[in-house]
Symmetry: C2
Subunit: 125 residues, 2 copies
């Protein structure tokens, strides 16, 4: 059979333990990126629209994020109608930024590995 | 209640539809990054070590990736012992690079949003 590449020495070199699964899930990553971009918070319908999620899906993911103390949900009234304001907590912001440094490392590792022939490597070089 | 930020106009602005769930799952992202870094392929035990996965977990994720035609598994013999060589397929490489451009966009969006106070924004500026 073909000879494989000599493996890197380091155990777990590509394991990316810092990719917190609570944050990494696609819909929740979308929610958190929306919220970090809107520090004053977003009303539920606006967040739903930005993330392109259904009511049920957004509610479910917000519950997971609230349970993990990454977001806070404030129920209130706007023009006599009930509204939920969703915000990143200070701890949530910190954990999300830590997560992003790992994500950045993934992109950097992969771009370097993919070589100069890939558009990606050109763009991130 | 506090007033929320004015939301971005664009529906789905942060939905990142291109984050293919087959690739995005943490362990599979680890496997694919290892394989893109080793174009000649990696033997199962080396891949396992680089990704810090158990035999069972790696087998399960490789089956998903093979089913999606992202990786190929070649069974052979090395010094009279059975060995599985894992490689990215050409289609897999293409799809992984597409995925990475979306991931890069997430990092860019979030770094911009987090502002100059974050280490991340400083590093990616």
């Amino acid at each position: 059979m073909a000879r494989s590449d000599a493996p890197d020495r380091d155990d777990g070199r590509f394991s990316y333990e810092g990719l917190d699964r609570v944050i990494h899930e696609k819909a929740r990553l979308s929610v958190l990126t929306s919220l970090v971009a809107h520090p004053k918070g977003l009303a539920f319908p606006d967040l739903k629209r930005l993330c392109n999620l259904t009511d049920g899906n957004l509610s479910r993911h917000l519950a997971v994020l609230q349970e993990a103390d990454l977001v806070s949900l404030e129920k209130g009234q706007v023009q006599n109608r009930p509204q939920t304001l969703c915000r990143l907590t200070p701890a949530g912001r910190g954990r999300f930024l830590e997560y992003l440094t790992v994500l950045e490392q993934v992109v950097r590792d992969a771009a370097r590995a993919a070589g100069p022939a890939s558009d990606l490597a050109t763009k991130t070089a």
